[in-house]
Subunit: 423 residues, 2 copies
């Protein structure tokens, strides 16, 4: 087998506006080191592509197509929601990975994802050694939830934060215009099942130059209906209107999500609704205000058109650093974003051992949320502001962003065995 | 009374990303003709400001602040949902308007809105003459619904169309990445209670260069559940995923909106939901696909950050033309956008008599919708494409667009009478 090893890259979990910028960083950097790294194979639909030996040959893509990944949202090779079981529960999965890596002479494993994939990455690095086929496993951080430890922030989050802050600003201006005779409360539902980072970004729409009445409902703060309604009532009395940014993870003291209000359709079936209509109807019923509500859903994490430049730069830098770490012989690590200063914003690339990253969830610090539980502190603003900074517009043609769709040419299979995924 | 008359400007109905660009066009053009037009007064919260003599003196705003209106969404002076009654039902309302105009030496009435305000504008021009205080009434077109007659399109629509096309493109890329193991259908709810112009824009995300499976549910097409589910099923089988863009006005053959599915909360109260969750749950139940859904609501019409340059230019041009028409002595007219050619896109300012604009609603032509009722034709694409063309980014500071909030200084009241609004 050749001394020069190939690399494997896969995207994991929910995709973001900038995960492809990390892919771009990985592939472009690997291409600059053809003396040491052979081809970069990508997993079709993430790690599943490795398990089923469905690999994509990225060398078939032009330099122009790879460069366009930097401004293309979503996962260009497909992602998946598939968590490998623990070693004890399903060692065969890990053995299969190594089998595929061995067959395709893969010596570098770049896994681009959140907490679960950091854990997988860590286990692969450990097991590959004990199975006699050592693979350098490097995790590339990605998650809109911003909940990975050690790194100051996660690529993907800054762009969502910018989208939510801009959308909150714009919708709040709208309701401000209409409130004399029409809508008085606008409710926006945002992502974040456990951590309120994204919801916090909504509060960034209000600044010292332009104060706007915005109420945030965090998953970290148990929902108190009376206190919340009193807050909305006070703001509408003072300003004439207000905006509520509600995290999908906001829940009652008993742990039940606001969105699970027991809503039923005409046939009595439990209805999967959103937190936004629940909150909006609650306000209407108690205070009588006319409302509008929106749900940002996939739009927020796919909104490459309004990505933060900090975020795009960092996503690319993480991909690039992952390859550079591998070339330096590192294993079982993750590049991190280390903040040097907030104002002016300075950051550098750091390194964290995967043993300390895997299975640790970073929540919002208590001193980032105001005492009343409905807003963010100056400390939080100082943290968030640089992550949303700068614009990095994609190129447009006929009014639409020019996002790339890759050819995604399959690598010929080498194994005679197939692998059935266990659900 | 001075020979030089003042002007009155008011914003009406739902605001848009570019209605302030029209205000900018009115005020900047009026300021260039100070020999003929005195001050421009704006109605605080639209026509209500005129009825209650709550006028804003726009001359107190700096040139810089007025220029910033061009890139600021929402209604800078406040808008309202308040339709004047017919002359027969409440002549007093019209008499009050004339009384206020007379007291403040207002000879020009610029009303920025949709069909209802065109009607009001028309009646004011007629009545003012018969009351012996002639006012030149010019309507400035605005509506995201794109439903005004004669004009090729309405300022406000192009930017919503661009936002919806871009959001649909981005979210569809997202679901395409996830469909192997997770979400297979994404449902986006958009505005448009009567006309499907905005929903049609969602289909623009699919192009010859990049074909995407998008199903549109128009208000013009009676909802056929079986046919719809078969369409979704076919696309998911072929592509692995699909996106549904549903207009809020989509309805069953009996006229009931999809959103009014008789959904009830835990207490049995009828729940105001959206069309998107209804459609998403319908697909889940029949086909079993995992779904996500979003509701663009106010975000779509306030999204100045991704406004279409065509739209911004036209909104400004309509405001400018309205003042120029007034200076030329025209009355009871509306500037229009006349398309000269689609490719390359060329347009010029035209003029329509309000008698032909008032109370006429322009629906989508039948030949703009595909035979199966779920898509748009090439003719529709040719119409929509230029309206979404070009970007016109606002300036940013610290990651946020720099939208202006005016001082909105009140004009001293001159009348001793007050006016109570009739609901």
């Amino acid at each position: 087998m050749a001394k020069k090893k190939n690399a494997f890259y896969a995207q994991s979990g929910g995709v973001t506006a900038v995960i492809n910028a990390s892919a771009c960083g990985v592939i472009e950097t690997a291409r600059k080191h053809k003396d040491k790294i052979g081809k970069v194979y990508a997993g079709r639909n993430g790690i599943i592509g490795a398990l089923t030996e469905d690999l994509i040959d990225t060398s078939k893509e032009s330099a122009k197509a790879i460069a366009a990944l930097r401004h293309t949202p979503s996962g260009a090779f497909g992602s998946c929601r598939f968590k490998l079981k623990s070693l004890e529960a399903n060692k065969a999965e890990y053995e299969r990975l190594i089998e595929v890596f061995k067959a395709h002479n893969i010596g570098y494993f770049f896994y681009n994802g959140g907490g679960d994939s950091a854990d997988t990455c860590y286990k692969v690095s450990q097991l590959s050694e004990s199975l006699g086929y050592p693979v350098q496993a490097i995790h590339v951080p990605k998650t809109v939830d911003n909940d990975l430890p050690i790194t100051d922030n996660c690529p993907g989050f800054g762009s969502v934060a910018k989208y939510i802050a801009v959308s909150t600003l714009e919708a709040t201006f709208d309701v401000r215009s209409m409130c004399a005779t029409s809508t008085k409360v606008f409710v926006l539902e945002v992502m974040g099942r456990h951590a309120g980072w994204i919801a916090a970004a909504g509060a960034m729409a209000s600044t010292k130059d332009c104060e706007l009445p915005i109420v945030v409902l965090f998953p970290e703060v148990l929902f108190d209906k009376d206190k919340f309604l009193a807050k909305v009532d006070g703001l509408v009395k003072k300003f004439g209107y207000c905006t509520v940014v509600v995290s999908e993870g906001c829940h009652w003291p008993d742990g039940k999500f606001l969105a699970e209000q027991g809503t039923r359709d005409a046939f009595g079936h439990a209805q999967l609704g959103g937190a936004a209509p629940v909150v909006a109807n609650m306000i209407k019923e108690a205070l009588g205000h006319k409302f509008h509500w929106g749900v940002a859903d996939y739009m927020q994490r796919a909104a490459r058109h309004i990505a933060s430049k900090s975020d795009v730069d960092q996503a690319y830098a993480m991909g690039k650093a992952a390859v550079e770490f591998a070339l330096k012989g590192h294993n079982s690590v993750m590049p991190t974003i280390d903040r040097v200063s907030s104002s002016p914003y300075k950051w550098k690339v750091g390194m964290a051992p995967l043993s300390k990253v895997a299975n640790v969830e970073k929540m919002m610090p208590k001193n980032f949320i105001t005492k009343d539980g409905f807003g963010i502190t100056d400390k939080c603003r100082e943290y968030l502001a640089p992550l949303m900074k700068g614009e990095d517009y994609p190129p447009y043609k006929n009014g639409l962003p020019q996002y790339v769709t890759l050819k995604n040419v399959a690598v010929a299979k080498k194994l005679k065995t197939t692998y059935e995924l266990k659900k």
